[in-house]
């Protein structure tokens, strides 16, 4: 049982608006992890908090969010310092194999030339660092990955929350946030496609199409996108849907889109656009 599984369960239960029970295993894992409990509470508060424009989030929500971000940033900085230190270690471990006795070293410390002092300081730093390096490295990488996952989950929650707002500019923000995730959450993708089908704002729909281009594969949504394309009445949206499928769709879906019976449903300007697109050459 991992923290991420429990966070995914929480997001799914909030999105479906049900309060399904935690399994015994999840409950046991959660009870042992107070930090995870705080994260779940934060996600729930953020989801259910009816944020109005010009109203700042509560101090607690703010503090939780920025605490997590600062932990991610400090861990990232710490990791990059480690990566910077490693080449120095490699260099000095070879050059300093020439024997410098401890006494001479201490003597040179008391008769410092700038170069000697620098070398001494570096050696002390690297030696002390290396003694603690190996066991902590894996731990830090795991913590960093964990925080990255947390931030991705939070961004997903934020995106899904904003996509439900009444205001078109807030929904646009939600689409922008969705682009910051890797769209790995199927609930988020499902919500984007649902909004693409029914949103009244052309701007939001065009932004969603741009966002869907980030998907590695459309999977089961591909046929749905094709159906949406052939039934679409908005010229701008129909063109962009065609572009999306032609550029990123499977070979089968492209064949279906350009088939005679489906081209018939497309507006004349869109048919011309497809003809122009077909001139993109293969290298």
């Amino acid at each position: 049982m991992t923290n991420q599984e429990i966070i995914d369960w929480k997001i799914a239960s909030l999105a479906d608006n049900n309060s399904s029970e935690l399994s015994a295993e999840m409950q046991s894992h959660l009870e042992k992890n107070s930090q995870l409990q705080e994260e779940l509470l934060f996600i729930e508060q953020f989801w259910t908090n009816d944020v109005k424009p010009l109203v700042m989030p509560s101090d607690r929500v703010d503090a939780n969010f920025y605490q997590m971000l600062s932990r991610a940033q400090s861990t990232q900085q710490h990791s990059s310092q480690q990566e910077t230190a490693l080449p120095l270690n490699n260099y000095h471990s070879s050059s300093k194999e020439q024997t410098i006795s401890l006494m001479e070293k201490i003597k040179s410390w008391f008769m410092p030339t700038p170069l000697a002092q620098f070398a001494t300081l570096t050696l002390v730093f690297v030696l002390g660092f290396n003694l603690n390096q190996a066991p902590n490295n894996e731990k830090n990488n795991a913590a960093y990955s964990g925080l990255q996952e947390d931030i991705s989950s939070l961004t997903t929650v934020l995106a899904m929350s904003m996509l439900k707002k009444d205001s078109a500019s807030e929904r646009l923000s939600g689409v922008a946030y969705s682009r910051q995730t890797d769209l790995s959450n199927p609930l988020l993708v499902e919500q984007l496609i649902e909004l693409l089908a029914r949103d009244k704002s052309t701007s939001v729909r065009l932004a969603i199409i741009n966002s869907l281009a980030e998907l590695k594969s459309f999977g089961s949504f591909e046929q749905q996108l094709l159906t949406m394309t052939t039934k679409e009445e908005n010229l701008l949206v129909q063109i962009e849907l065609c572009r999306l499928l032609l550029n990123y769709g499977s070979v089968e879906i492209k064949t279906l889109l350009t088939a005679q019976e489906n081209m018939h449903y497309l507006q004349p300007e869109v048919r011309e656009f497809i003809k122009a697109q077909s001139m993109i050459s293969y290298i």
Partner: protein, 286 residues
């Protein structure tokens, strides 16, 4: 002075006053106090036919001026209303001996609750011109189905504007703004640019013309399929390429996107301008 010489001028004055009253019957003003002065305001305006002008000011009430006039143009929807078909296909009723009464009534509904204001004018044969003064911080949503233009001046809150027949013009705004027209232009002048949310101006067939104040920082994205793009910015527009190199066997495929972008003053929130056949104009304020 006899009675006739006194009565006649008074009668004329009364008739004049009466006629002025009749002429002014088409214009009405309302002052709407807010439930929570000083707090965020949300205003939603929906007009079937007419024009909507919203002006931001430093006060804390909503000042509404509504002017109506009879619509004399052609309207397919109106024709359907005038000649409804019933299931029995009965002939139109006779109006012999009757005189036509011009309807001058305007139904304008105004609701306010906890600083959420809704103003709506329903489907009718009246043309309703609304001029509304609102607190500068207000968030605005306007939908105008037929007739004239939507005009915005001096509002710093978020704007969501849809005009199906007329133009959209907005000046001295900071956004975020999401605006859409069908065949007409969108003209927007930004005195500042919101850093928290993206903005988007979309016209299917009309032009999109924006002016950016010198201090505005934004990522300006432009896309037009059959129109031209004219820029007065210092920064050039570059193509945002979605380059995906899919290596299948010995083939490579490079996909080029249709959006161009310029980062103004280092970049910031996204400002997207889209038109199918209209031109895009990006100007820098002097």
């Amino acid at each position: 002075m006899n009675k006739l010489s006194v009565t006649l001028p008074l009668t004329l004055i009364a008739m004049l006053a009466g006629s002025i009253q009749l002429a002014n019957a088409a214009e009405k003003t309302y002052s709407l106090p807010l439930s929570k002065p000083g707090e965020p305001v949300s205003i939603e305006v929906e007009v079937y036919r007419g024009s909507v002008t919203l002006v931001g000011y430093k006060g804390d009430t909503i000042e509404i001026s509504a002017t109506t006039s009879v619509f004399s143009g052609k309207d397919d929807d109106l024709k359907k209303v005038k000649a409804p078909k019933n299931s029995n296909n009965n002939p139109a009723r006779s109006n012999k001996g009757l005189k036509s009464v011009k309807s001058q009534s305007t139904r304008l509904e105004i609701e306010e609750k906890n600083n959420d204001v809704e103003i709506s004018s329903e489907f009718s044969n009246q043309h309703v011109d609304l001029v509304i003064k609102v607190p500068q911080r207000s968030s605005i949503e306007v939908e105008l189905h037929k007739g004239g233009d939507i005009s915005i001046d001096g509002i710093s809150g978020s704007l969501e504007l849809e005009a199906y027949g007329g133009m959209i013009t907005a000046k001295n705004i900071s956004g975020p703004i999401v605006a859409e027209t069908g065949q007409t232009d969108i003209v927007v002048s930004f005195s500042n640019f919101d850093k928290t949310s993206p903005s988007s101006l979309t016209s299917h067939m009309g032009n999109v013309d924006i002016t950016l104040a010198k201090k505005v920082a934004a990522n300006v994205n432009v896309q037009t399929y059959q129109g031209e793009i004219f820029s007065g910015l210092d920064k050039d527009f570059v193509v945002i390429d979605e380059i995906k190199k899919n290596k299948k066997g010995k083939k490579q495929k490079i996909v080029l996107g249709g959006i161009m972008q310029a980062k103004v003053n280092g970049g910031g929130q996204a400002l997207s301008l889209t038109s199918y056949s209209g031109n895009l104009y990006i100007r820098k304020a002097k």
